[in-house]
């Protein structure tokens, strides 16, 4: 129990330090941009592929149920709601947690146990600002962009399935799809993706930066970064959906 409260205190301290270092100059612009590239550009291929498959398969699975009621014309709007409100932010976050979160945990963990972080400190560089702040900022800013991108690609996947079955035109499909999407849906997509991005970056950095016990600690840090961030993403999804449904819809 004592260890649990100690962990909570350490997380609190880490978070306070993050916000302090993020707002106090000097800023690590170059490293933040570098991390934008690492998190964003290097994840584009997998996000494109999974987004397309998600949209395609989800449409295919939903078709039979809607066909029973002769309601296949609802597919575009149903897919838009499912993808924008739930699938795109959630699937993007889970993929980034697995790909980027584990990478951050392993990278910082290995830097910690091989004294590279201390080497940075004695080189008159603030390693927290350089390594932690830049990565958390990058995941927080890039996950919403990737989630929005995945929503579009997912809709494209849905369109392919609808076009193959109903020969609906591209314009007609997207007109029907977006008729049910509101500004709140888009805003919630962006905000909750940012929350997931922050969670992924924070879990990766916290576990990596505090890694110990040599190479075993590095593996443990990478593993914890993924497990903790995925668990938190589901908890956050539940809370955000409850809040939005109660107060914004």
């Amino acid at each position: 129990m004592k260890a649990f409260f100690l962990l909570i205190y350490e997380i609190y301290q880490f978070m306070v330090r993050f916000f302090k270092e993020a707002f106090i100059p000097p800023y690590e612009y170059k490293e933040v941009l570098n991390q934008f590239f690492e998190v964003g550009i290097r994840s584009l291929a997998i996000i494109s592929l999974t987004g397309f498959i998600t949209g395609l398969v989800f449409t295919k699975q939903s078709r039979s149920s809607l066909a029973e009621f002769g309601a296949t014309s609802w597919l575009p709007s149903l897919m838009a709601i499912a993808i924008v409100r739930a699938l795109a932010p959630l699937v993007t976050a889970l993929i980034i947690a697995g790909k980027v979160g584990s990478n951050i945990g392993a990278e910082l963990g290995s830097m910690k146990v091989t004294e590279q972080i201390e080497a940075m400190e004695v080189s008159s560089t603030n390693p927290f600002k350089f390594l932690v702040v830049s990565r958390i900022l990058a995941t927080t800013c890039i996950v919403p962009v990737l989630a929005t991108y995945m929503a579009l690609i997912g809709m494209l996947g849905a369109f392919v399935n609808v076009y193959n079955n109903e020969q609906t035109s591209f314009t007609s499909f997207f007109q029907q799809a977006f008729v049910r999407i509101t500004f709140v849906d888009i805003a919630v997509l962006i905000v909750k993706s940012a929350v997931y991005g922050f969670t992924i970056g924070f879990a990766g950095c916290f576990n990596g930066y505090n890694a110990d016990h040599g190479t075993v600690g590095v593996g443990r840090a990478a593993n914890k970064a993924v497990v903790v961030s995925m668990f938190l993403i589901f908890v956050e999804e539940m809370l955000i959906v409850t809040l939005v449904n109660n107060y914004l819809r």
Binding site: S110, Q116, A119, V122, S123, S124, T125
Partner: protein
């Protein structure tokens, strides 16, 4: 007392040592990790242009001592003055400025895995001297690589280098800022005898060329004998002997004898 000879030479005290100018001064430094007290009130003066070797068994607190000097760890008690500044009283910016005058060579070299050798060497330079031109940076990198004899490795990754080369690059990375003080943490650990001797020679060359003072943490007697102007033996959290290499080991203290015998070296 001794078992075998390693052909090492005994270093003569450097003529430039200024005994009136202590660049590092520790007074009553204590440090504990939980119930284990690692340093029990250590006093130390390191003079300008002097190489001080701190010898001790693994886990005796040697690395803790230099991490305290570099400000990476805070002592529980006592004062640490480096180049006239008390480390504990310095703000972040002042501590960073002071650290740019201290070179720290880590036991495992601590080269940045994700950067090639050029980027590793540029890193401290571009972050401390932002006004430098590209040419000045390139010249500085070429100079330190030449000083450590590894100019050909400039575009290689750390993973492509041998242990000895990594140590040299680690030292080069600290030299690029022209530090006044060098801190070496186990500079010859894990190296074969020939490479160890090369590193020992490099430490002496750095002292000569860069006019540095140094604290060298080691358990290698050959390294201590070849590089130390003064040798200090650390055991059970205290300095138990200090002086020249011969003075330290001319002792009946069983802790000193035990340490000496296990290093397979003669006193001559």
């Amino acid at each position: 007392m001794a078992a075998a000879t390693q052909g090492n030479t005994n270093k003569q005290p450097h003529p430039g040592i200024d005994r009136n100018n202590a660049v590092i001064a520790l007074r009553g430094v204590r440090k504990a990790f939980g119930p284990m007290e690692v340093l029990k009130g250590v006093d130390l003066d390191v003079y300008k242009s002097e190489n001080v070797v701190v010898l001790g068994r693994s886990g005796s607190g040697k690395s803790v001592l230099i991490k305290i000097i570099a400000g990476l760890l805070r002592p529980d008690e006592g004062t640490v003055k480096v180049l006239g500044s008390e480390i504990d009283s310095l703000g972040t910016r002042a501590l960073q400025d002071l650290r740019s005058k201290i070179g720290f060579s880590f036991q495992n070299s601590a080269l940045y895995d994700g950067m090639n050798i050029r980027a590793n060497l540029e890193f401290p330079l571009v972050r401390n001297k932002r006004s430098l031109t590209r040419k000045e940076i390139d010249d500085a990198v070429a100079q330190v690589l030449d000083d450590v004899g590894l100019s050909q490795t400039i575009n290689q990754m750390p993973s492509e280098l041998s242990g000895g080369q990594k140590k040299r690059i680690g030292i080069a990375r600290t030299l690029i800022l022209h530090p006044e003080i060098m801190l070496y943490d186990e500079p010859t650990a894990g190296l074969d005898p020939v490479t160890s001797e090369e590193i020992n020679d490099l430490i002496n060359e750095v002292q000569e060329s860069y006019k540095t003072s140094a604290v060298i943490i080691t358990h290698d007697l050959t390294c201590a004998k070849s590089t130390g102007d003064r040798v200090i033996m650390l055991a059970e959290g205290n300095f138990i002997r200090q002086g020249s290499f011969e003075e330290v080991f001319d002792s009946d203290d069983p802790r000193v004898q035990h340490f000496y015998n296990y290093n397979f070296i003669t006193k001559t």
